[in-house]
Symmetry: C2
Subunit: 661 residues, 2 copies
């Protein structure tokens, strides 16, 4: 038995020899196999469960490990011992063996989330808990409580050079005494002790924020497992200072010091969200040890208490751009006193931490395919490239895509028209309204919108209606509304289309079409500018991030020419890519390092100073854009639930009088 | 002129060659000569003034430097250009030259204070100001305000890898814009930007605290020059929770959570002192960038918000002992938001940061002489040794030396008897009272104490009266009061001496003498214990620190046997050594490094577990102590303003009945 035994760990493939009688956990540590533990091998935490695997060609041996002893038979921890699994801190190796470490027993585990989008997040905990047994003070030992804690971490966990956060100074002593010299400490970034609790503890939570101009969202996660325990969202209360970003910046410009009110408003919302999250998950605010924040540059600055006015005009200078590491107390949220705050880097003055988070989530830099990642807000943040090279730019689309600057436009909220179909023959519209599942020509529609009414048209609706009007021949290639029809009404020198005739009728005016043309031309020109810099004619994949990407029908984006030529099945919504990136940074130190490196490597293209941009912009005004027409696309768009339109090319040509605006 | 010129700097002795036309400051930097500058050579700060010196045997050359140009003739900075001095950033070297750098132009200068004690403090600034000209943002420059500040510090000062304190995040941007891209930054410890101001600025202040159980003192210093701009002191308001340290610890023991009230009280006093200091110096709280604190272990813990009760009993475990670096905001004082806090290390559970500061100030570790450094409070903190080896211990003297546990004892305050002389023939006393310059037998004494009265006797008074009673033969070698005299009154089985007979008479009781005997025996035994460990029979120098050391007459300390054999002229008061040490740590990073190193090297001796201590303690109860009698000393004591006593040895022997207590 004194001979060395052969031990192999799967899935890591780590292998080596061990003396008989060694515990599985000890051998794993020596061989570098990844097995989690909070209690340090004391049979308390149940995180180190493993199974005996089988070597190729040999069955799993029943006698390879020592039979369960009192530690395992008496184990009653929070994580039940799964049938067939063993505590690796208790089981001793007696024969050559293959040990299989299931994902939930790995520190660096891969988490597959059950969400609309399935996303893999690799956990690389920024905060780890360590249970320690601290030496009691004696008269002959002149070290301090902190010194003995540091000694225990060194001896029991091999952790050296740790410092204690200043917020902990008053709590070390009572924790040690309440815990009878047994405590659990939280260690941030393998360098600072940020929390201490009496006895054994297995809870370390974090909150990932995505601060948008309209909505502030937050996810409460278990920092060790990556589990999402609760999610919550709130309207950004800054909306009372201005519907869109630029009007909030204007508010500050006109009310010097007004950034304080905006900062307080968003921080209050962030703190309120914590209240919702901990109530839903039935945990405490003090369990939250780590907080991440992403947002566009203006939100990023306001969360940090920085005046955003320099971002309201050229040269759009950021106050800070690198990742910010601070105490969570900096942003006035009530969490654990030692909790840390992390803001992802901003890429440029108009390409913020939200874009960085989207890059982290979508990973264009991780693949060979040329990916176009677009997040449309008041400005479109555009990232283009692949592992070889990444470019980013911001294009001044204005807020038309968000329903602003549109005569009947509004934010996406109950009552807003979000889907539109127009019969190409009759020119009669059908639409759907947020808050109802029914189309306007379906039975029960009127009743279904009784509460909300039809209040306006939101971004996705305006894109669809303009595209449908174009497909129906009402709007020409160069954007002119024309035709003789009861729904086409004169409005001074121009014409409007009556989308909804009711107590408050909704018209699509010539100016509305112009606003959409300007916005889509800006977006398209920005994309083409980056494509020019990258020297590619086409992109392999298009990901549309954020609310815009989730709500618009990508086919209409193609019809209008918002985005360049690409296989339709390679165009998809990225969902809340920024929020996902925030969560990745919350759960993984490696993800933080990755995005900090990538953010500095991304080449920033400033659209405002590129002469080529103006040229592309003017050329992209047409529908579809004149510089890259793909008229055949219109026919490829499948419009369900109505007759396939015919004769449109002819009609379009007939109505197209060649006028330019 | 293209040949290299020989340049020598004094007093550093740095020398080398320089191309004609180089500025003196540039050459100094290259050669490593220490010349101060805040403005970075822009002729604004006036800190870099130098004179042309003369090489041995050659007179100073008038033409060695370029004649004053517009920078110097137009210079109107806060530090006037001294006649005969030149701005080294403007003056160009034209010939071989010796440049003399006066102390006030050196970064690492030696400061000689004008105080009761003259102490050299070498300034090695922990915070330095740097004026920079920051690049304006442009559309083609994608860096942030912080990035451009970091670039300027790198380019203009050669400072790399600096981070910005989180409290600065919101202020970078307005400072840059108000200062038209010219700002001054404060850099702490050559690593963190902790302050930023628009334009040029030359003020960086700090506060050194000495938190005593009775008094909280604070000094406001210029961090660059070392000048003390203001000093202030306050009663420690914790006194309302208990007169002495142990009664405050008892308060917390009996009122769980009571440490919060004690912490708040002392922090309030510290904040109030800042108010006094900035008012006196006519500066702003925001000018204060650095704060240091020293105090005994209980004050150290209470300032940090740590429950001191574990320090109230064995094993006297400190929560933290190493130097504490934190934000000044941790202790709730209103100073600059980026200000840093530094607490000197504690040496052991009863040998605090005050003792460490006294070591830093007195420097026993810097010399060959064996120094005994004693600071007497509720416990006597004793440090003994030299550069070779340093030992420290705390001896449980109790509060008798502070006037507590004495029947008529009181704190040193107006009305307290502080000096006593007793005529050896008549046994009539004379005394002086705090608040009056007159002796009690001088004309006008009664009037001079009209306001205060005679309220009690303080620590120095009780030591003198016991020593005088011994010298007069009223108190025997073993501490018994005896004799027949109107002033010697019976008090049950023991006798008392009537020191003052008035509305409230002041008696020295047998118990009072016993209390002093116990206290002095504890002190002496502690000292002897350390001497035994160090294996020395005598000490070369004795320094008595703190209020005790300043107020007692060292001769009486020798008469009573508080301290061991030593040349009387080598026994002296160290004054406020702890406060001086606090100031040294405020002004010098090198001093911080020094005391942190020394504190770990000091050997701690625990009196409570040393069997030898009890033996020494019992042996030291006699007056003078039996184990090391020096009866000839009594005759060496010069007692001014009265007849030299005679016949005392005889009388002492006569009254000494050999009884032990």
């Amino acid at each position: 038995m004194s001979a060395d035994l052969k031990v192999t760990f799967t899935p890591s493939g780590r292998r080596g020899t061990a003396v008989a009688g060694s515990t599985v956990l000890d051998v794993a540590r020596v061989l570098g196999a990844d097995i989690d533990s909070v209690c340090g091998g004391r049979g308390i935490c149940g995180r180190c469960q493993v199974t005996v695997g089988s070597a190729p060609g040999t069955p799993a041996s029943e006698t390879a490990l020592s039979p369960p002893g009192p530690t395992e038979t008496n184990y009653r921890g929070r994580r039940p011992l799964v049938a067939g699994q063993r505590l690796s801190c208790a089981a001793q190796i007696l024969e050559d063996v293959v040990i299989d470490v299931p994902p939930e027993s790995q520190v660096h585990r891969q988490v597959v989330r059950k969400r609309a989008e399935v996303i893999d997040i690799a956990v690389d905990p920024v905060v780890r808990l360590h249970y320690i047994e601290v030496a009691e003070p004696t008269l002959d030992d002149d070290s301090s409580d902190l010194g003995r804690i540091q000694d225990a971490l060194q001896e029991q966990w091999g952790l050296n050079g740790l410092t204690a956060d200043e917020s902990l100074i008053g709590t070390l002593q009572p924790a040690l005494r309440q815990g009878k010299w047994q405590v659990t400490v939280a260690i941030h970034d393998a360098s600072v002790i940020t929390g201490i609790w009496p006895g054994f503890r297995d809870v370390a939570l974090g909150v990932a924020y995505d601060v948008g101009s309209t909505t502030v969202a937050a996810h409460l996660c278990d920092l060790a497992t990556g589990d999402v325990l609760a999610s919550a969202g709130l309207m950004n209360p800054q909306i009372r200072f201005g519907e869109d970003l630029m009007s909030r910046v204007s508010y500050v410009m006109m009310n010097p010091g007004g950034e304080v009110a905006l900062t307080t408003a968003v921080r209050d919302a962030m703190d309120e969200l914590i209240g919702s999250l901990v109530a839903e998950a039935e945990v405490s605010r003090e369990d939250i040890l780590e907080v991440t924040v992403v947002g566009n540059p203006i939100m990023h600055h306001l969360v940090l208490g920085i005046d955003p006015t320099p971002l309201g005009g050229a040269p759009f200078a950021l106050a800070v751009d690198k990742a910010v590491r601070a105490r969570a107390s900096l942003i006035d949220i009530a969490v654990h006193p030692g909790a840390r705050l992390y803001l992802l880097p901003c890429i440029a003055g108009h390409v913020g931490a939200d874009a960085a988070a989207a890059v982290l989530s979508e990973g264009p830099h991780r693949g060979e395919a040329v990916q176009l990642l677009v997040d449309v807000g008041t400005n479109a943040e555009i990232v283009l490239g692949s592992s070889g090279r990444l470019l980013a730019a911001s294009s001044p689309t204005g807020p038309a895509f968000e329903g602003a600057q549109i005569s009947s436009g509004q934010r996406a909220a109950p009552g807003a028209i979000e889907r539109v179909r127009i019969d190409a023959e009759t020119l009669e519209p059908r639409f759907r309204v947020i808050g109802s599942e029914l189309w306007s020509d379906e039975v029960g529609f009127a009743k279904s919108i009784e509460k909300t009414g039809v209040t306006g048209i939101c971004g996705s609706g305006i894109i669809e209606v303009v595209a449908e009007l174009y497909l129906a021949g009402v709007v020409s290639h160069d954007g002119v509304i024309s035709g003789e029809h009861p729904r086409i009404v004169a409005d001074g020198r121009t014409k409007s289309y009556v989308l909804h005739d009711g107590p408050s009728s909704i018209l699509i005016t010539q100016n509305d079409v112009r606003a959409i043309q300007l916005a889509k031309a800006a977006l398209y020109a920005g994309v083409k500018l980056l494509m020019g810099h990258l020297a590619v004619d086409a992109v392999d994949e298009i990901r549309l991030a954020g609310a815009f990407g989730s709500h618009i029908d990508t086919k209409y984006a193609m019809v209008l020419g918002l985005i360049p030529d690409c296989d339709l099945d390679k165009v998809s919504a990225a969902g809340n890519a920024a929020g996902t990136g925030s969560m990745m940074a919350l759960l993984s130190g490696a993800a933080r390092a990755e995005i900090e490196r990538v953010a500095t490597e991304i080449e920033k293209i400033e659209t405002a100073t590129e002469p080529k941009f103006q040229e592309l912009f003017v050329g992209a005004m047409g529908i579809p854009h004149a510089t890259d027409p793909f008229p055949e696309l219109a026919g490829a768009v499948s419009l369900p639930a109505r007759t396939e339109p015919s004769g449109r090319p002819e009609r379009r040509r007939r109505r197209d009088r060649g006028s330019t605006d």
